[in-house]
């Protein structure tokens, strides 16, 4: 096991280097001189000033030098300063990550609570003589959830629950008039979470249902039935344990992809997360932020994948030798 983990960890290093080169290359390929764009927006077009600013941000050095400077600074935890905001990139990323983390966690929780429960429930119902309408609904509802664009649902939720009914806040992470407590954050989380998690709830519902149905056909389940164990024990102890493995993998990957921020949902809810930060800085050609955010997202995703793989290997020894 230790050897497996060590091998996987080592394999990450070239990956990270490749990713950093791609990120750096992309940032150089971005059209438009970031400094010129910035100064133009400030209504100034002075070549000397542009040059001075380029010097300040090291944009006049040869590319390999720039790459090396960037990389070594990054290892010291210095991702530079945002050209547009003048803040440290690491501060911006930390702030964005914190906000994205809360909504990603809430979404995964929703997926587990609703998606898995409904999936397992509909699998259990599948084999019983329940009315056709209910089993049909339980089988087809997730298809609907996957198919309707989540952000369209989010928009209508803002309209109905936020503006018309006034039950829930429409945007942002806090209400300045109501203090900064957990309850306030929870209220702000509800709509973005639903919008973000809708499709994943559907997907996990379907996955849980299909896996559980498969599992329930296995011989050891028949055996458990034959032994005369109570139904709930057969389903939720014997059946669920096996079902959970693929579900956990899926949740882990989902969490990884949610952590990288969904810019559409963050856009609609003005949620100051990492996705929105990335989009804004891309549009504004705020290169240090784009680079920082991309490399952070990519390496986070790599390590999350790694963690999922290792966990998987722990559960299923066959993987280790594959």
């Amino acid at each position: 096991m230790t050897r497996y983990i060590a091998r996987r960890l080592l394999s990450v290093i070239p990956l990270l280097i490749a990713v950093s080169i791609i990120v750096f290359g992309m940032s150089k390929a971005l059209p438009g001189d970031p400094v010129a764009i910035f100064l133009q927006q400030a209504d100034i077009a002075n070549p000397e000033l542009v040059n001075a600013m380029r010097d300040k941000y090291g944009l006049n050095d040869p590319l390999p030098v720039q790459y090396w400077t960037w990389l070594s600074l990054m290892f010291q935890g210095d991702m530079g300063e945002s050209i547009r905001r003048g803040e440290r990139v690491s501060d911006l990323l930390f702030r964005g990550m914190r906000n994205t983390f809360s909504v990603a966690t809430a979404s995964v929780a929703l997926v587990i609570v609703v998606g898995w429960t409904m999936g397992v429930l509909s699998a259990v119902v599948h084999n019983r003589s329940w009315p056709q309408a209910i089993t049909r609904f339980l089988a087809q509802a997730p298809v609907l959830m996957i198919s309707i664009p989540g952000f369209a649902v989010a928009v209508f939720m803002v309209l109905i629950f936020g503006i018309s009914l006034g039950w829930l806040p429409t945007s942002g992470v806090s209400n300045p008039r109501e203090g900064d407590d957990v309850l306030d954050l929870a209220k702000h989380l509800i709509l973005p979470t639903i919008g973000l998690a809708l499709a994943s709830v559907g997907g996990n519902w379907r996955l849980a249902r299909n896996t559980m149905i498969e599992v329930l056909r296995e011989d050891y389940i028949r055996m458990a039935h034959a032994k005369g164990l109570p139904l709930w024990r057969v389903y939720f102890v014997h059946g669920l344990r096996t079902t959970l493995v693929p579900l956990l993998t899926s949740a882990g990957l989902l969490f990884g992809s949610l952590l990288t921020g969904s810019f559409i949902l963050e856009y609609i809810f003005a949620w100051p997360g990492i996705g929105l930060l990335l989009v804004e800085s891309t549009v504004n050609r705020d290169v240090p932020v784009v680079m920082g955010a991309t490399i952070l997202i990519a390496s986070m995703y790599i390590f999350l994948n790694l963690a999922v793989d290792i966990l998987y290997a722990m559960v299923d020894p066959r993987v280790r030798y594959a």
């Binding site: 990713v19 971005l30 664009p149 149905i213 990884g256 810019f263 559409i264 990519a298």
Partner: protein, 329 residues
């Protein structure tokens, strides 16, 4: 083999077979119909009596669905001047040549924030969106099946190289890669398709590789190997046909996300630019005109949902037909 088959079977027999097949699988047929209708309407859009989807007319902006307006005449540039009321006192000054009596014009789904006909925009928009959707899908499937096959079947160094590249691609999750590509290349129909394809190819390669791996050691592949067939032949004649059914499932999954991709990019101002609208652009327009004309955002949303549902059901059905064990689900 295939050519021999078709020689023996005249075209009529094919049609009859297909018809029988469709009759035997009503759910599959039902899920195909909406998809075909949408595609056909998109194809014949130039033949339909639609107004220019980009023709703005401020006097009918936010016209509610099922209403009608009047073309009062033409303005200096020769464009129609449309007005919601048939009141001669309300003649806009821009009318140069008057129509007597004014011509009626129907707005089935109303007009958007610039007074453009929503129906016309939806239909014209479906051409662009479907084109991107179809081309992107085809490209994704071709690329990922090919490389999945290579990596999965050949294994070894080929597998190593391909999968390392895939790993790099996978490190940029979701729309991140598409966002970067689009920023570098700039928004256009082709670039959008490229961005979408490149960002979804790695995951698909990995998926197909996995499938190939399961087939690779099957008895019939081993048999083919013993018969001395070369690798290419085995890959494309034996392995590929057994992976193909999954393509439909993958296509179904990809179909929705492509439209949502384009909508998302339109929303942040990196979407496709006029002249012709696409569903994504219309959706992001609709987002901003939500109160005045919900039809604007509802139109593409419903169409995308219908397409996605149909694709999903279609994919499920195909899988059921191909693997009887699954069909008990």
């Amino acid at each position: 083999m295939h050519s021999a088959l078709s020689l023996n079977n005249p075209a009529g027999q094919h049609v009859r077979r297909t018809a029988t097949f469709l009759r035997d699988h009503p759910v599959l047929t039902a899920s195909l119909i909406p998809i075909l209708i949408i595609i056909i309407i998109a194809l014949i859009a130039p033949l339909l009596p639609l107004t220019d989807p980009n023709r703005a007319n401020l006097s009918v902006r936010y016209l509610p669905p099922l209403s009608e307006a009047y073309i009062l005449g033409t303005d200096r540039q020769g464009n129609d001047v449309v007005h919601p009321e048939r009141n001669p006192d309300l003649f806009p000054s821009s009318v140069v040549e008057r129509y007597e009596p004014p011509v009626r014009k129907h707005y089935v789904l109303g007009a958007d924030s610039l007074g453009r006909d929503i129906v016309s925009r939806l239909i014209w928009g479906s051409r662009v969106s479907l084109m991107i959707g179809i081309f992107a899908n085809v490209a994704v499937v071709l690329i990922s099946v090919f490389f999945g096959l290579l990596a999965g079947y050949l294994g070894g160094r080929v597998d190593g190289v391909i999968m390392r590249l895939v790993d790099i691609g996978l490190a940029f999750p979701g729309l991140l890669l598409a966002l970067l590509i689009l920023t570098v290349l700039g928004p256009s129909v082709i670039n959008m398709a490229v961005a979408v394809v490149l960002s979804s190819v790695p995951l698909n390669i990995r998926f197909f590789r996995g499938q190939v791996l399961t087939v690779r050691n099957a008895k019939y592949v081993e048999a083919a190997r013993l018969l001395g067939y070369n690798n290419l032949r085995i890959m494309f004649r034996e392995v590929l046909p057994n992976v193909m059914p999954l393509v439909i499932t993958v296509t179904a999954l990809n179909a929705t996300s492509f439209f949502i991709f384009t909508a998302g990019f339109s929303l942040i101002g990196m979407g496709l630019k006029p002249p012709d609208p696409d569903w994504g652009t219309i959706m992001s327009d609709g987002l901003r005109a939500l109160y005045e004309a919900p039809a604007v955002i509802l139109g593409p949303t419903i169409l995308i949902s219908i397409l996605a549902i149909c694709f999903n059901i279609f994919g499920d059905e195909v899988q059921k037909i191909l693997s009887p064990r699954e069909s008990q689900l």
